[in-house]
């Protein structure tokens, strides 16, 4: 069963706080793990992409994947009011290459508000 679960929040933090967002999934075939950010009335925008397990850092954002526990995390350091959005985790199965056709399975999203 292709399921991705997220706590929908809302999550409200003060500016400058470290934010932790999490997802769990049930499908062992998932190999690709992504975080998307969605502003109100906009399409999802890719933030982070990870293949298989491990950590990936990009500026203030760190993504972690633990395949043994089927747990995915996104950390935001020094959060800013402009980070206020809904954060969606998305997973896909497949091998390393030629995966353009694989469908993404999204979580419901966590709504984050960063208060100035």
């Amino acid at each position: 069963q292709k399921e991705v679960e997220q706590d929908p929040g809302p999550l409200s933090v003060p500016e400058g706080a470290i934010v932790s967002l999490n997802c769990t999934y049930s499908n062992s075939a998932f190999q690709y793990f992504m975080w998307y950010r969605q502003y109100s009335r906009k399409g999802p925008e890719l933030l982070m992409y990870t293949y298989s397990s491990g950590n990936k850092e990009d500026g203030r954002f760190t993504a972690q994947v633990d395949k043994s526990s089927k747990y995915i995390s996104l950390f935001i350091r020094d959060s800013q009011p402009s980070d206020s959005a809904t954060y969606l985790c998305a997973n896909a199965p497949g091998g390393e290459s030629g995966a353009g056709s694989y469908q993404l399975t999204f979580g419901k999203g966590t709504k984050l508000s960063v208060i100035p």
């Binding site: 399409g43 992409y49 030629g98 056709s101 694989y102 999204f106």
Partner: protein, 114 residues
């Protein structure tokens, strides 16, 4: 920066009518997709399209739905006879060959069936 564009941004239609949602994917992308998001629900995959044919589709994508790439730039989703439960945001997306590039999503078309 190139982006996926969708028109119209909002469409209101009567139940039973046909609607066509339009998308212009990023020009050098090879894969095209439609997703939908019912208000308050998850973004759900509908269909992927590659090399002028459907490569994968979900259970949602039944006979009422069809996709087409009528020319070199447009990608359309047709709903033949709309139902109230088709009301949702419909997102078009495109990607290059590798999933590591992610999907580029458009801003969506809000479809309201009355």
């Amino acid at each position: 920066e190139p982006e996926v564009t969708q028109t119209p941004s909002h469409q209101v239609t009567q139940m039973g009518q046909e609607v066509i949602l339009r998308c212009v994917p990023i020009s050098n992308h090879l894969y095209f997709y439609w997703y939908r998001q019912i208000l308050g629900q998850k973004v759900e995959f509908l269909v992927s399209f590659y090399n002028n044919e459907i490569s994968e589709k979900s259970e949602i994508f039944d006979d009422q739905f069809s996709v087409e790439r009528p020319d070199g730039s447009n990608f359309t989703l047709k709903i033949r006879s709309t139902k109230l439960e088709d009301s949702a945001m419909y997102f078009c997306a495109s990607s290059s060959f590798s999933l590591r590039d992610g999907r580029s999503f458009g801003s969506g078309t809000r479809l309201t069936v009355v």
